[in-house]
């Protein structure tokens, strides 16, 4: 590989007479090379041995292309490699078969939240879903209950609006004395909100919720969870919490939740969404009882 060629020349000239010892970098590169040879061999072997392919049925739609105006499913037969995810297979299909196949992805490691798709009937992150865990043919569709822009790309605008509606940022106004003082949070409190901080804004939960599907104004699980993350954070003052609770208690807030658990089941970050929504409902009832 071209990138690995100039460095050794530079190093051998300086380090040559001192010691022939490897730098950590050399060792890493060597190991990596070895690893790559192994995986390449494995890959070749696997392909040769079984020429195993996985059939993908992928939703296609493009309002700007006459042949794709009518939504349809295309079949792709992708050579299977051990450890292949749905996202890998889609990338393969796009690179090798049809460069117009459109889908969002970025991090490939369940961090960016851009590739939530409807795979074999449930909302999952394509990069976190192993093909080996699915029945073939694998049906890949854009997230339900959102408008399709093109192929697997849906319009996320509404989801982001709902997320913004709960004011997803720290609003604490009291700062500790001293310029370098930190706003401390107790370990217990951190533990309490831990799961709720994990959201990657993928929209899987919202898409799975049939209440959100019927009521466009429903804040939805992700936004409510986001509100929970701040409402339960002890660093915010009581009046801010009250303000947050008022957002949660409005008509299209927590009361819409019918505890179907579909959001909790699909969340790729395993956030106990239903539990958080329920806790906010109880919190709301409690604070109302205090006013009576």
């Amino acid at each position: 590989m071209s990138t690995e060629q100039d460095e050794p020349t530079a190093e051998t000239t300086t380090d040559a007479d001192e010691a022939p010892a490897q730098t950590p970098g050399d060792r890493r590169r060597e190991e990596k090379q070895a690893r790559m040879q192994v995986t390449e061999r494995e890959r070749a072997e696997a392909a040769a041995a079984a020429d195993e392919t996985v059939q993908l049925k992928v939703f296609r739609f493009d309002p700007e292309v006459p042949e794709k105006e009518e939504p349809r499913f295309d079949d792709f037969h992708v050579p299977y490699v051990q450890g292949m995810t749905v996202l890998d297979a889609l990338i393969y299909a796009r690179d090798e078969f049809d460069s117009s196949l459109t889908f969002r992805h970025s991090c490939r490691q369940a961090v960016c939240g851009s590739d939530a798709l409807f795979i074999n009937g449930s909302q999952r992150l394509a990069c976190k879903t192993q093909l080996s865990a699915l029945d073939a043919p694998v049906r890949v569709e854009p997230l339900p209950h959102q408008d399709v822009v093109k192929d697997l790309v849906v319009d996320m605008e509404h989801f982001y609006d709902q997320m913004e509606a709960v004011e997803p940022y720290m609003q604490s106004e009291e700062f500790p004395e001293g310029e370098l003082e930190e706003q401390r949070q107790s370990p217990e409190n951190r533990e309490k909100i831990k799961m709720s901080t994990r959201c990657i804004w993928c929209g899987a939960c919202m898409s799975s919720c049939n209440i959100a599907a019927g009521d466009n104004e429903y804040l939805g699980p992700a936004a409510i969870n986001k509100a929970y993350r701040f409402a339960m954070d002890e660093r915010e003052e009581d009046d801010i919490k009250e303000h947050r609770m008022r957002i949660m208690e409005q008509e299209h807030g927590v009361w819409r939740c019918q505890t179907q658990f579909s959001c909790t089941e699909v969340c790729p970050k395993d956030i106990p969404l239903t539990e958080h929504i329920q806790e906010l409902k109880r919190e709301a009832v409690k604070s109302n009882l205090k006013f009576w």
């Binding site: 739609f61 309002p63 700007e64 939504p71 009937g121 449930s122 339900p144 209950h145 408008d147 399709v148 822009v149 319009d155 605008e157 049939n210 599907a213 019918q258 505890t259 179907q260 658990f261 579909s262 089941e265 106990p272 239903t274 539990e275 329920q278 806790e279 409902k281 109880r282």
Partner: protein, 135 residues
């Protein structure tokens, strides 16, 4: 976004095979709830014969109730009502637990348990409902 594609409700009902326990529980709870409130209205209507009965002729009430009860259809419907009510109660208790934040991890199992227990109670009460006085 004028050109985007709205896939409509197929997403919801065309996919019933993929519904999870919580969704089935919701649908059944809804359905049983509507049946129960419908029955409540009917029930009060039937019992209203008691007003005539009180103002002179007790037979209107007794005959209406016993007349209805002598019909096999009514008995079968009553078993249906029992099933509906028992499921709604058991799943209702499940929902109350969920509201209190108790046993959320077992919410799917408790739904299946509601179904099984409902089935059991209904089968066990068939003799009581069908026994005696059916024409």
């Amino acid at each position: 976004m004028s050109q985007s594609y709205d896939r409509g409700l197929i997403e919801d009902f065309g996919r019933w095979r993929e519904f999870s326990a919580g969704m089935w529980a919701w649908i059944l709870h809804k359905f049983t709830g509507w049946v129960l409130i419908g029955y409540l209205f009917m029930h009060i209507a039937v019992l209203s014969t008691a007003i005539d009965a009180a103002s002179g002729d007790p037979a209107t009430y007794t005959d209406t109730i016993q007349g209805l009860e002598s019909l096999l259809v009514v008995r079968v419907l009553e078993i249906g009502l029992l099933a509906t009510a028992v499921f709604h109660i058991l799943n209702g208790v499940r929902l109350l637990m969920v509201d209190l934040g108790v046993g959320l991890e077992a919410q799917d199992k408790s739904f299946y348990a509601s179904l099984v227990v409902t089935g059991g109670i209904v089968v066990a009460s068939v003799p009581t409902f069908l026994g005696g006085g059916v024409v």
